[in-house]
């Protein structure tokens, strides 16, 4: 495909024996490379420093997750959903649980929804911190990496206190979350949210007005409105191009209609706009988290897990005393079946629209679980944005598209 490219020059513009033109170079940015976006391979055809063609090769992290769902069953697949977009594991859990709840026709109690919103927004902050840190270090702002990971460590501590694990928590179940949020964790989250907006201001002070950051990102990787929609982009990539689409507003889930937040939208659609959108989203996520903590205070003592014994495990104390609950426990663990049919549940993850299409034939053996990964569409857009630009712009474009290979390859 790339061998057929030829260089066309106007007669008289290039001297026939000019050594600088006339030869294309194939550069392999191999599956292992320091731009810490995972195992992505780019086959680049260069004319000097200008990119003529770039072909992404994915699949170096394909672990067969969709096949795994068919083999393991609906409940045991929850641990695998964490490892999809591994910078925000709880968000994937929530998306999968919501798809299953749509198919099962299950309603989540309010406190369960509030806890899910809190976890999803903390994960969104964590994901955007990874974006900022890794894109910063790719473009030379090494300090950003350490600053952002410092903040991410604080979020890890909160999640460690609540779920018991720093990442890949798997704390969401069909019908709600695994356990309630304690007062101490609530206070810790409040403490984090008090200091976090000042940190975001510090990040902005370092980057937003920075001449180098501006020059590396302004007018680089410009994505028009129509192109963004045609390439199936969503999330900050779409909003950076001026399309005001946020699934939390357009198709509210988990009680998002009751939260007060703004949706930042860009104008030009270049890397700088996408950067501004994500930084502002971090602030808005902190705002939503504060409202979620207030709601947690109001719903104290409420149920966080639905009661439907076809899908939700009964509490262990009841299992030990009641025969009926023991049978429910046994049936759910060994043989949980979802009603026949199919359902698509999608949420607004930090990368875009993360959706799960779950199809069941009524038995406990899943028929199909397709993971609609936003990062796959983000990778697809790389050639469109990078063609004709310099090689160093490619690094900025990859960083600003913000994809995670666990999700791309599944």
């Amino acid at each position: 495909m790339t061998e057929s490219l030829t260089l066309e020059y106007e007669p008289g513009t290039v001297s026939g024996d000019d050594p600088l033109h006339g030869e294309l170079m194939h550069l392999n940015v191999g599956p292992q490379h320091p731009a810490t976006h995972g195992v992505l391979r780019l086959k680049i055809t260069l004319d000097g420093e200008t990119i003529r063609e770039v072909e992404p090769v994915v699949g170096y992290l394909h672990r067969g997750k969709e096949k795994t769902c068919e083999t393991l069953g609906w409940r045991r697949f929850f641990v695998h959903t964490d490892r999809l977009d591994y910078v925000q594991p709880l968000t994937n859990n929530c998306a999968y649980a919501m798809a299953l709840e749509e198919l099962a026709g299950l309603e989540i109690p309010e406190r369960g929804q509030v806890i899910r919103v809190l976890l999803m927004e903390l994960s969104r902050i964590a994901s955007h911190l990874i974006y900022l840190g890794t894109t910063g270090i790719d473009l030379g702002a090494v300090t950003m990496f350490f600053f952002c990971f410092n903040e991410r460590e604080k979020i890890y501590e909160l999640l460690d206190a609540y779920t018991g694990h720093r990442m890949n928590n798997t704390y969401v179940r069909i019908g709600g979350v695994y356990a309630d949020v304690e007062e101490s964790v609530q206070d810790a989250v409040t403490g984090f949210l008090e200091t976090f907006p000042a940190k975001v201001d510090e990040f902005e002070k370092m980057l937003t007005g920075n001449r180098i950051w501006y020059d590396r990102n302004r007018d680089v990787g410009v994505l028009t409105r129509d192109d963004a929609l045609a390439w199936s982009l969503s999330g900050p990539n779409l909003r950076g191009s001026g399309v005001e689409l946020d699934l939390r507003r357009a198709e509210p889930y988990c009680g998002y209609e009751a939260y007060d937040f703004d949706v930042p939208v860009g104008t030009i659609g270049d890397c700088y706009d996408r950067y501004l959108v994500r930084v502002e989203e971090m602030r808005q996520s902190a705002r939503i988290c504060r409202q979620a903590i207030d709601k947690l205070g109001k719903t104290r003592g409420g149920e966080f897990l639905a009661e439907d014994r076809r899908f939700v495990l009964p509490p262990k104390s009841e299992v030990r005393q009641s025969m009926e609950e023991l049978i429910h426990q046994f049936k759910i663990v060994t043989d949980m079946a979802l009603p026949a049919g199919e359902a698509y549940g999608s949420i607004e993850s930090s990368k875009g629209e993360l959706g799960f299409l779950v199809a069941s034939d009524g038995t406990s053996h899943p028929l199909r679980c397709h993971i609609r990964a936003p990062s796959l569409m983000n990778v697809q857009a790389i050639p469109h944005l990078a063609r004709g630009r310099l090689l160093s712009d490619l690094v900025a474009i990859i960083g600003s598209l913000d994809f995670v290979m666990g999700e791309v390859d599944r």
């Binding site: 495909m1 994915v58 699949g59 394909h62 067969g64 969709e66 096949k67 795994t68 068919e70 083999t71 749509e102 198919l103 026709g105 929609l229 045609a230 390439w231 199936s232 982009l233 969503s234 399309v243 689409l245 357009a250 198709e251 009603p339 049919g341 199919e342 359902a343 698509y344 549940g345 999608s346 629209e353 959706g355 299409l357 199809a359 028929l367 199909r368 397709h370 609609r372 796959l376 569409m377 990778v379 697809q380 469109h384 390859d409 599944r410």
Partner: protein, 172 residues
């Protein structure tokens, strides 16, 4: 009128079979040969400007075996539609029309369907495997493919053997 009625009236004749799924998304059932025409009309007349996914379900052992699913979303109207078509595993394997020229974002999804199910998309420029290595022989998401795979290390063994067969003098 609800989303399904709006879509069916905008599509005009001949209208495909439609229903609303459990998740509230309208579903259209069409023949594989009408897929391109229907999807082009969905784009031009019904306002569906972005493709969400292209995927397939293997309904082995029922015939026709593969069920191809497309899903689209409309920014203007704010609703979605899911289109499904059953594919016969013909003499050369299942074939379907490609929509990658109408929706460039569907290109990778179609390559993935080819990789995982073996469905060949006619008209797709550059249809090759996406997730498995290019020389891989099997289609993993088919129901008759075992979960642990068939000789998963075959390609690696070939590479290792080729490395050992290099002429003396080059680095091992």
């Amino acid at each position: 009128m609800n989303a399904l009625e709006r879509i069916l009236s905008a599509l005009g004749d001949p209208a495909p079979q439609g229903s609303t799924g459990r998740d509230g998304i309208p579903c259209l059932e069409i023949e594989a040969k009408d897929a391109r025409r229907t999807i082009a009309r969905l784009k031009s007349a019904c306002g569906f400007d972005t493709n969400t996914f292209v995927t397939a379900i293997d309904r082995f052992p029922a015939e026709p075996r593969f069920e191809l699913l497309w899903q689209f979303r409309s920014l203007v109207h704010g609703d979605r539609v899911r289109v499904r078509a059953r594919l016969d595993a013909g003499p050369e394997g299942p074939r379907a029309p490609s929509i990658a020229d109408l929706f460039p974002g569907a290109a990778y999804s179609e390559r993935e369907c080819f990789d995982m199910f073996g469905i060949v998309f006619e008209g797709h420029a550059g249809l090759k495997r996406l997730l498995m290595p290019e020389e891989y022989d099997h289609f993993p998401l088919r129901k008759d493919f075992p979960h642990q795979g068939i000789e998963p290390d075959r390609l690696y063994r070939e590479w290792d053997r080729r490395r050992h067969e290099k002429p003396a003098g080059s680095a091992t």
